[in-house]
Symmetry: C2
């Protein structure tokens, strides 16, 4: 290690630079870097992380030379700023802040306005002509120093403050006058004396060293240690301490403060953007007492400063090669940049900025693709709440399907359809949805459920449809019979207008303005660049020609999951499906299946046509049969009449389908082991449809997928059945159509025995929804009651139904891939759970060598971008 | 390979021996072996498996020399038997049978009575003085040969036979006279001619070669191939063919036949046992038309033969070192042994035989321990149906808990308790049982359920109690309201007497005689020998002092699983439990928990005292809370009154506990993440109890087990909570009690992340019931509807809830062991699922290095024996 313990920055040059993060910390290195590129940063110096390390190694003693180096640098600082610490005539005030190599926001201590005492505060008052400002700075300093350094509790200071406010009849801190604040200062001194038995220190040098001690000390406070554990921050030797001159924008009309963005953070437009206030501090901009002016106006009010700022804008963007969010202060005609960082931006701005920066030569395509957070593309694909509109949410649920929707509340799917026919926009509010609600869900602008998680029926279907959905909103109590909901304590009746924000999970009891998404040219360009880099194919989960067309528009390269059961609910089909299920024997089932065959065929025709030769993976019937039958006495009676059986007999049959844990029950391929005729009908429909579309001149590539297998013997039996049917149909039509028969890997045992399974499968598709359910033992329909708790308490970092659990479930995926390919190195492997549209999960899929991911249509662009980033990150693009 | 294609046996010596199974097949080698030790086996010869191999390799051509070798051996055979093939005066009849190195019973073809034609049959009639016998042998031969060799379907022959029987007014085959049979023979000839266009072959040599061809051909018939696949029989080159002289016991009063056992197969008593018939064939013994005489009687009727037989009995036992089941025939004063094999025996006989044979010096202890099938010990531990009693079962369900029970039918647990108080023996008949039925289950002699599998609530609880149970009996329809059941089509009312056979799953609509088990001294001796060899410890699953005492009596070395929830149902406790569950806040729950604390404590005191210092693993609360609350409107109202809340409020609370898939829901440690106070109370009760028992002078070793963890963070949180409570209690009592805190591995993710989990766990216990559920995705409460299908169709070999699925679930166990021990090589690991009492699963547990298995009290001896066999088999004892 070096003998140099302190690094200066100021006056246009710094002893450190951006590369010295390890010893200067992130903040110190950044301040040095800005100084070096001649950004006018308030001068200061950084005590290195190595000092922190030595401090702890040496029983909280500093290296002998530190005192001298700090003194030297303080002198340089005083010279640079033309002010002196503790000089009542011209006082230098400083901040003392932590700054480690990794960001640990808010975890360590800070002291601001250091250098004030009874004498200096009067000088400051005189110099600024603002006694209130000076007294307020002093009392803030005392409070912060008292808390951080002297160990007097923050709430004790607040208590004193509140007492004086009460006495003065002041509501806000700002209602206190300079004299009032003087009273506070006196009371603070007493508080400190009472609690510590010592006077509040008046010597600025003593204040400085005690603050430095406190900041180094805070490196090992319990919450900082915890934060490093939780965020897996390891190998750091300590924090640096930054001592920097304070600057103030409220020193009169030649002072001011502002925030600006180098480009428009909403649209990405390459135009200087921001706002400022004359004679104000940064907190005044935030407090909203005065309305800031747009940054252009600064050209009139402080033309010289504006010119400097425009130059800095350009310099910072070129230097950091990204859109910057800049905080500045003008103190008595001198511009200081307090901070610059990559600006937060909307999805649209992210895309436009990235694409335009490539055109401007600032960055290359790879960088542009890496730069945009895939998740933010979501904003480009759904209507959203106008960001200018301020609202208060009455309740908050899970952000189950993004976008926003305004509409009138209805409580049943039937009402939704009826109201829709009358041209009304409706929000469907349900305790939970079931497949029978599909019609109402389709017409609803938004869906709100009281129960269910991110992969509940409502959430999955809504995302598939691109319909806004807030799910599992526990603050919503619904009385479906009475057609009343209590949302966040307020009663809502059928027909009342509410707004859902599916991107945040918020429910607003009012009409809120929405804006329609713009599918800009830049977006398309970025997607094309992403496609150049990615290795993973991106397919879609789609059950209808409409969704299929939407997904193709978003660039889907096939269907990874076409669920056939949704088709079973459409229109009158459900009656035929029920007839089949409730038959007593094979003959009865076959009669009903014969009626279903042409319906299923027509579904597949539409989907094959829309996919134009891209592969279409069709999953054979998966859900337990009880999902298709009615359960209420009234509905059973109705159906009994239709089928011409007694109500009792039908009820007995329906009851016999009841299961304790349907998710682990008689479903998926297990249905077909018992009733092979069901899958046989579906396979016949698939190949009849394929042949018909092929004859019409459109290419078709069907992939038949057998769900829920746990043992190769199930697959073998059902595959053999399917082959017989497929060959029969193709033979009959003299077709040479190519196709695959494969399976989902969604039962842990299938992954564990993937080597055996791969002998019979032409492809694998990981059904990570079920795989997650079974690997965790979490029912996604029930986990809502405790999963929130788990994430809140840090037991799980994420809801594993949203982001693939790489630690546990991921092991099974890797085992499945490795064992499957050990038998068949060319095995095509994809993923069709909800995770296929989650960027981190997509990266995982890339890393373990899948061939494709499949996700809902509206997440296809996200997956394309995430796949490109995965390839770039893992060096394979 | 050798030039020798055929091996002779007869006249007291054979060319082969027992060691030549590979080329002579099992049967051929055994016949040779018997011949060599001078057992009078009917002479014959074996064509080797190598001939079969060559036959297939050479387009179904035999080696050139075979013809000659067969002729030579046939001549030797004729000489040995003093009869000639095709000689009308003194005809030799032979059997032609398959016999591979591995047993494939019934899979390949056999021809009996070969050598008959129109001429020979008359000679045979004359020689035996029994034309009916001769004609019947002929027609049987024609039918068998016609089917096997000529390809005329068996049912076509049967059809002809039935027609003639109808014409003659004969009900049974035996009602046909010699002349009638002659008609059959003529008709058979015509049938063969009609179907094959050829005459039935009359040349015995032709018959012989065609039969040999057929037997070799049957090696590769589809069912034989399938059988070898299913039974994983590999590496065999083919079947041998055995040609052996037929002998007949119905050639007059110097002939006879019988079956005998070298010891009593019911009791194991070392006394010659068996029965015989003079002038009869083996099938006459079976048919039961004549009553056979006890074997002792043979000493009077055929003293010389009896003497020979007694000598053979002794010789065979000494040779095979096991109790033998011997079939013999006396043909005209000459004794032939047709077959000897290890005799099937009852559990009692198996134990006694093994122990006595050690005393006799026939076998050593290891052999004795290996000799007894652990499963058969079950018979020694429960009342059973008197084997002498013949009955007809009306229905058959799953053999869920062994033993038998007779009693009066009741349909509710309350009735069961009421009737029991009146001194009546009851059988509790339920659609399914729930924890609320526990009282009734406890008093019932037997339990019959219509739904649920081998690990359904009824089955698990019944096995735990040692109560006979038939579960999932689909032939039982129950109307609980009407108090009527239809069992196998017959209506049964409350109070009717039925009998259950829990060892077979049979339901008998009658009173059947039961016998009480004898806990013989031999049994105890065998168990002690087993203990000398086993490495695995054997613990028990027990929730009560009573069960604990029973299990100690059976040799349990601790409790592997003490479920605390069963205690929650006892007596009035359920009210307090409900009060706790239905509280709106922590304060309310704590009030109820405080009331529960002394009750739980007293449970543990009893169990600790009964276990006398052996480790007691206590699983903290596991089931979802809704299992404890009432569900019917009436019960809810009752409880609401008790708790002083409105019915509506209570109902809403009960409804809010409903889950779609409770097995994957809010249960196990998830409850304690939400309500830590529940586990804290339980831990306090455990340690308060432990300290009390310790003070009383009895050693205590509690192991606190946290269930259902899927992530180490859950365990860490709950373990830390438990440690605080434990330390507080022990500190308060100044106790230095040792204890462990560990976890169940029952969620796949826990096994996959066992390295992380092991950092916080002091022991692992594999909960293979849940692990099986989640790894297969099978709900054990629902799998009954399809699991039978799976086993029947050969998709699964076994119900994985009965025998641990080593292929899939076993991988997770191995991963868990390996990863857990990678972090903590000394980690104590056990299993506490139902598999802990299954012998094959116990062997698996031994092999993967577990420390102990735990099973229900009545399976402890089985596990002890299985553990010893596992150690012996795997060379570690």
């Amino acid at each position: 290690m070096s003998d140099k313990l302190v690094y200066f920055f100021g006056n246009g040059k710094a002893e450190g630079d951006a590369k010295m993060k390890e010893i200067l910390g992130g903040k110190g290195a950044n301040l040095a870097e800005m100084t070096n590129v001649e950004i006018p940063v308030p001068a200061g110096f950084t005590i290195t992380t190595e000092v922190c390390d030595l401090y702890y190694k040496n029983e909280r003693q500093y290296p002998a030379d530190l005192n001298k180096q700090v003194d030297e640098n303080l002198a340089k600082l005083e010279e640079a700023m033309g002010m002196r610490l503790g000089d009542p005539e011209n006082p230098l005030l400083v901040s003392v802040r932590s700054g480690a190599a990794a960001s640990m926001p808010g975890m360590m201590d800070t002291v601001l306005n250091l250098g004030l005492n009874d004498e200096v505060v009067e000088g400051l008052a005189k110099k600024t002509g603002n006694p209130r400002f000076a007294k307020d700075a002093y009392r803030r300093f005392m409070q912060m120093f008292g808390d951080v350094v002297l160990g007097v509790a923050h709430h004790d200071f607040e208590h004193v403050l509140e007492e004086i406010k009460a006495k003065k009849g002041a509501k806000l801190d700002t209602d206190l006058s300079a004299d009032d604040l003087q009273e506070v200062i006196v009371a603070y001194k007493k508080l400190v004396k009472d609690q510590t038995n010592e006077e509040f220190p008046t010597d600025p040098k003593e204040q400085l060293w005690k603050s430095v001690n406190a900041v180094f000390g805070s490196w090992n406070n319990p919450r900082a240690i915890k934060y490093r554990q939780l965020n897996d921050i390891r190998g750091l030797i300590g924090t640096a301490v930054n001592i920097q001159s304070m600057v103030y924008g409220n020193m009169g009309d030649t002072s001011g403060t502002g925030v600006c963005f180098t480009r428009n953070p909403s649209t990405g437009e390459n135009k200087f953007y921001g706002e400022f206030l004359i004679n104000a501090q940064g907190e005044d901009v935030v407090a909203g007492i005065r309305t800031p002016e747009p940054i252009d106006q600064l050209a009139n009010e402080m033309p010289e400063i504006y010119k400097q700022l425009v130059a800095i804008r350009s310099k910072l963007e070129k230097h950091y090669k990204d859109m910057q969010d800049i905080e500045f202060t003008v103190q008595e005609g001198i511009l200081y940049i307090l901070q610059t960082r990559s600006g937060k931006r909307t999805g649209a701005a992210a895309v436009t900025t990235a694409v335009e920066m490539v055109k401007e030569g600032l960055i290359d395509k790879k960088e542009a693709v890496k730069r945009v957070d895939p998740a933010c593309l979501d904003q480009l694909l759904h209507p959203m709440i106008d960001p200018k509109f301020k609202y208060t949410a009455a309740a908050k649920g899970l952000p189950a399907s993004p976008g926003a929707a305004v509409g009138q509340v209805v409580f049943t799917a039937e009402e939704a359809e009826r109201w829709d026919e009358q041209g009304k926009a409706v929000i469907l509010v349900r305790i939970e949805t079931s497949p029978e609600d599909i019609g109402g869900m389709h017409v609803a602008k938004g869906i709100l459920t009281a129960r269910g998680g991110m992969t509940s029926h409502a959430a999955v279907v809504a995302r598939g449809m691109g319909t806004c959905c807030v799910a599992g909103c526990q603050d919503v109590k619904i009385d479906e019979k009475a057609k009343i909901a209590v949302i966040g304590g307020k009663e809502i009746k059928e027909g009342d207008v509410i707004t859902l924000n599916g991107s945040t999970g918020e429910v607003i009891l009012d009409k809120v303005e929405l804006i329609e998404p713009q599918m800009s040219g830049d977006f398309k360009v970025l997607m094309e660049w992403a496609d150049e880099f990615r290795k993973l194919k991106v397919r879609t989960n789609s059950d209808t020609p409409h969704d299929t067309t939407v997904a193709r528009g978003f660039g889907a390269e096939g269907i990874g999951l076409c669920r056939t059961e949704h088709m079973f609910f459409e229109g009158d089909r459900i009656d035929t499906v029920r007839e089949m299920i409730l038959s007593d024997d094979l003959a009865g089932r076959e009669v009903a299946l014969k009626k279903l065959l042409p319906m299923q065929k027509s579904d597949f025709v539409g989907i094959f046509e829309a996919m134009q030769g891209f592969p279409v993976t069709i999953r054979l019937l998966d859900p337990p049969l009880h999902e298709f039958v009615p359960h209420s006495d009234k509905d059973i009676e109705k159906l009994a009449n239709k089928l011409g059986v007694t109500k009792e007999k039908l009820k007995a049959k329906v009851d016999s389908l009841h299961e304790f844990n349907p998710m682990l029950g008689h479903r998926g391929c297990r249905l077909a082991v018992t009733y092979p005729e069901i899958y046989n009908m579906q396979v016949e429909a698939i190949f009849e449809a394929a042949v018909e579309v092929e004859k019409g001149g459109t290419k078709v590539f069907p992939e038949v997928m057998i769900p829920l297998i746990g043992d190769v013997a199930e697959l073998k039996m059902l595959k053999d059945n399917a082959l017989v049917v497929a060959k029969e149909v193709l033979g009959r039509h003299n077709s040479k159509l190519e196709y695959l028969i494969g399976t989902m890997i969604e039962v842990p045992r299938a992954a564990l025995t993937a080597d055996a399974v791969a002998k019979e499968a032409q492809f694998f598709s990981f059904g990570t929804n079920d795989l997650t359910q079974m690997t965790f033992g979490f029912s996604r329909d029930d986990a809502g009651t405790f999963l929130g708790h788990y994430v809140d308490q840090g037991i799980l970092e994420k809801d594993p139904f949203q982001e693939l659990d790489q630690t546990g479930v991921g092991q099974l995926v890797e085992i499945g891939v490795q064992k499957g390919r050990s038998v068949n190195p060319e095995l095509k492997i994809g993923i069709c759970g909800e995770h296929g549209g989650d960027p981190k999960s997509v990266e995982f899929c890339h890393r373990v060598g899948l061939n494709y991911v499949s996700c809902s249509p509206y997440r296809v662009p996200i997956a394309r971008l995430a796949a490109a980033q995965a390839a770039l990150k893992n060096g394979s693009a």
